[in-house]
């Protein structure tokens, strides 16, 4: 699998030169091609010049707000963007995701985690390894047959639970915001659905998680949404 993902181009937009250097070392060690810039303006320019496959965008840039750059970028580009944020900025994370970021990584980050996010983003963007059958750990879902199995045992889901699970599987590894899920499932992001969503996710967890109170598959991203974890 890793072979498939090599030589993809990554653009790093971060004003801290030390972070750029370190990311470069880590990414190059994992066979990615790396470009890095220190400002938003250069970032936009670099996207047009070097056509990266994934952009790592720090939101705290000196010249321009990272969210503004994201907004501008999304006007003409669909390249996956992973934003780098700090711990205590849930609203900014949600805003970034709503503006079209594909994922986020919280500083201080673990390189393995970052690499996993990059791979998920590339897989989604290039539709690598897409198949109607999803298998990860004990969970197996056949989107064609609408069949869900845990440890080869078929389990029954309600229609709504199934559509929520299917949505997560189509976006495996990606964080989905509450608003996004509600829009996809109910067609509107109204607040009354938020409680509904929590209830259905809890039901779903009871059926697919080993320990529903400590979920390992459908994890909560606090203040942001949920993520279907995949083993990379």
């Amino acid at each position: 699998m890793n072979d498939l993902l090599t030589r993809f181009k990554i653009l790093i937009v971060d004003d801290e030169s030390q972070i750029r250097r370190l990311l470069r070392i880590s990414l190059e060690a994992n066979e990615f091609k790396v470009f890095d810039v220190g400002t938003g303006k250069e970032g936009i320019l670099a996207v047009t010049m070097s056509r990266p496959d994934v952009i790592l965008l720090d939101l705290g840039l000196p010249d321009e707000d990272g969210l503004e750059i994201l907004k501008k970028l999304r006007e003409w580009s669909t390249v996956p963007v992973i934003v780098l944020t700090v711990e205590d900025s849930e609203q900014i994370k949600v805003k970034a995701l709503d503006l079209g970021a594909d994922d986020y990584v919280t500083k201080p980050f673990n390189t393995a985690e970052l690499l996993a996010r990059i791979r998920v983003a590339i897989r989604h963007s290039f539709k690598i390894g897409e198949s109607p059958v999803f298998k990860d750990g004990d969970l197996e879902v056949d989107l064609g047959l609408r069949q869900v199995k845990m440890k080869d045992q078929e389990i029954k889901l309600t229609a709504l639970e199934y559509s929520i699970l299917a949505l997560f599987i189509r976006n495996a590894g990606k964080v989905l915001t509450h608003n996004y899920i509600m829009r996809e499932i109910w067609g509107n992001p109204y607040a009354e659905n938020a409680q509904n969503l929590r209830v259905h996710v809890a039901q779903l967890r009871k059926k697919i998680e080993k320990n529903p109170s400590i979920p390992e598959i459908l994890v909560t991203e606090s203040g942001v949404g949920y993520r279907l974890k995949v083993l990379v």
């Binding site: 004003d15 801290e16 030390q18 972070i19 250097r21 370190l22 990311l23 070392i25 880590s26 190059e28 060690a29 994992n30 066979e31 220190g38 705290g60 000196p62 010249d63 700090v86 500083k107 201080p108 980050f109 673990n110 390189t111 393995a112 985690e113 970052l114 690499l115």
Partner: protein, 497 residues
């Protein structure tokens, strides 16, 4: 002036006015009597008649009517034939006498009425003038204390009154015990009298007079007025006092609102500074922590660990992140030492060249991307400094220079003697310099030039300044002509400048 006009309007006819009336009649009669044959008694009647409007200009209605009647009697008795009797024989004399009376009384009444109206008008103009000048005075007041002081001035000048003002508590809705104005009037008993006025909106009229100071949203306080006992407290005065209280209220309300706005502004400012500090410190802490976390997890990755080249690079990054954390912690510790006053100098005589050498040697690894050019004049006098702290000041300035100078450019350290024999250390960088309006602020705590690149807490130069100034030296910055910034440190030979 106000006092006199107020009193005239309010005055009852006084004895002296009757005396004036009596005297006037006597004089006219006395002077006319010997010549009445020559001028005729009718002329005397005219003189009596003329005296009435003239008198009414000076004396009140009662005395004027008294004069008119007196004239009537005197004219009849002494002048109209047959004289020395009240008897009148001719019809036209009788008619003239009563015509006189009618004209005298009505003109007396009319003229005194006109005069009263004039007095009322003058008085109300005076009141307007007073209120106006009070208003102007209040407008120039700059604080609550000042407003009350100016009110006290006017009140004692106009009414001989002393005032005491209680205001609503800043926080909460009670009446504050802190009194303004003549605080000698303050006592718990007075406060207890003022409180119901504040709460109940009614006026207490015994002892000190308390009036609530009311604005639309409720009472903002109470004014207590102590009148000088000798002065009368008539309706007019009370009315005026009330309008003064109203002016005082709006002036106080304005000052209170200004105070609130100021407090809010100060709060916002400190909130903003706190946020800035928090942001920059947390950014400075987080970045090296991010680097360390990422580096460690990269080392943990098999792909990376297998490559000795990569491993070496990562270790270098780890090292520099740790150093960066160290600089930050040192800065924060230094700053808190300086702030807490736990900061004493251990001065030693040392060679200036040595001082620079110590500072530069400790930062060799940081100069790898820059060309450091040190130029020390010969025969520099030794300086008396605390080596540890003074070195730190130089290091902090150099950190700054490195940070803002592009890699590959020059950084200079020049040391020379000024014309007046002082030692000058000049540290010049090749960065972009700073905007002129920021130059003075460079040494302020947590100040960072807007738009400068991230990294740095805005403490380094503040610490350098504190150290240099503790040595009785001077530190300042200037933009270099060719671009870049130069920071000057000037110290005396023995550090005693």
């Amino acid at each position: 002036m106000e006092k006199s006009s107020l009193e005239i309007a309010a005055a009852k006819p006084r004895v002296v006015e009757f005396l004036v009336a009596f005297a006037t009649t006597s004089v006219i009669a006395g002077l006319s009597y010997p010549i009445s044959h020559a001028i005729g008694y009718q002329t005397v009647g005219f003189l009596f008649l003329m005296s009435i409007p003239v008198l009414s200009i000076f004396i009140g209605r009662g005395p004027v009517l008294f004069a008119a009647l007196l004239n009537f009697v005197v004219w009849n008795y002494f002048f109209i034939p047959p004289v020395m009797t009240f008897h009148i024989t001719r019809l036209h004399d009788l008619i003239a006498l009563f015509a006189y009376l009618g004209v005298a009384v009505s003109s007396g009444i009319l003229v005194t009425r006109i005069r009263t109206n004039q007095l009322v008008l003058a008085k109300s103009q005076e009141r307007i003038r007073l209120i106006n000048s009070f208003l102007v005075s209040l407008n120039n007041a700059g604080s609550i204390r000042d407003v009350v002081r100016r009110t006290q001035e006017v009140m004692s000048k106009q009414f001989g009154a002393e005032i005491i003002v209680f205001l609503k508590e800043k926080e909460g809705s009670g009446l504050s015990r802190k009194a303004f104005g003549n605080t000698e009037l303050f006592s718990e008993a007075e406060y207890d009298l003022a409180l119901p006025v504040f709460e109940g909106n009614h006026v207490v009229l015994s002892g000190l007079q308390y009036y609530p100071l009311t604005v639309q949203r409720g009472n903002i306080g109470v004014i207590g007025i102590q009148f000088n006992e000798l002065r009368n407290k008539d309706e007019e005065t009370l009315l005026l006092v009330r309008s003064f209280a109203a002016q005082l209220t709006s002036a106080l309300d304005r000052e209170i609102n200004i105070d609130i706005a100021k407090e809010k502004e100060i709060y916002m400012e400190s909130q903003k500074l706190f946020q800035t500090v928090l942001n920059s410190v947390s950014h400075e802490l987080r970045t090296p922590i991010s680097i360390i976390t990422a580096a460690v997890s990269t080392l943990d990755d098999e792909n990376t660990a297998a490559n000795p080249e990569t491993r070496k690079l990562i270790c270098a990054e780890l090292n520099s992140a740790a150093q960066r954390l160290n600089v930050l912690v040192e800065n924060i510790l230094d700053m808190s030492k300086i702030d807490s006053g736990y900061f004493h100098l251990n001065r030693q005589i040392c060679d200036t060249a040595d001082l620079i050498g110590v500072a530069v040697n400790g930062m060799k690894s940081e100069f790898i991307h820059h060309n450091l050019r040190v130029n020390i004049a010969e025969n520099l006098p030794p300086v008396s400094v605390d080596l540890h702290w003074f070195k730190q000041a130089i290091v902090n300035i150099l950190h700054n220079s490195i940070f803002y100078t592009p890699a590959g450019s020059d950084i200079f350290i020049e040391a020379y003697t000024s014309e007046d024999g002082l030692v000058v250390l000049e540290i010049l960088d090749s960065g972009t310099g700073v905007p002129e309006h920021s130059i003075k602020k460079l040494f302020e705590k947590f100040y960072r030039v807007p738009g400068s690149k991230s990294g740095g807490t805005g403490l380094g130069l503040t610490i350098a300044k504190a150290i240099v100034e503790a040595h009785k030296g001077i530190i300042f910055a200037k933009n270099r002509e060719g671009g870049g910034l130069s920071v000057f440190i000037i110290i005396g030979k023995n550090g005693n400048e």
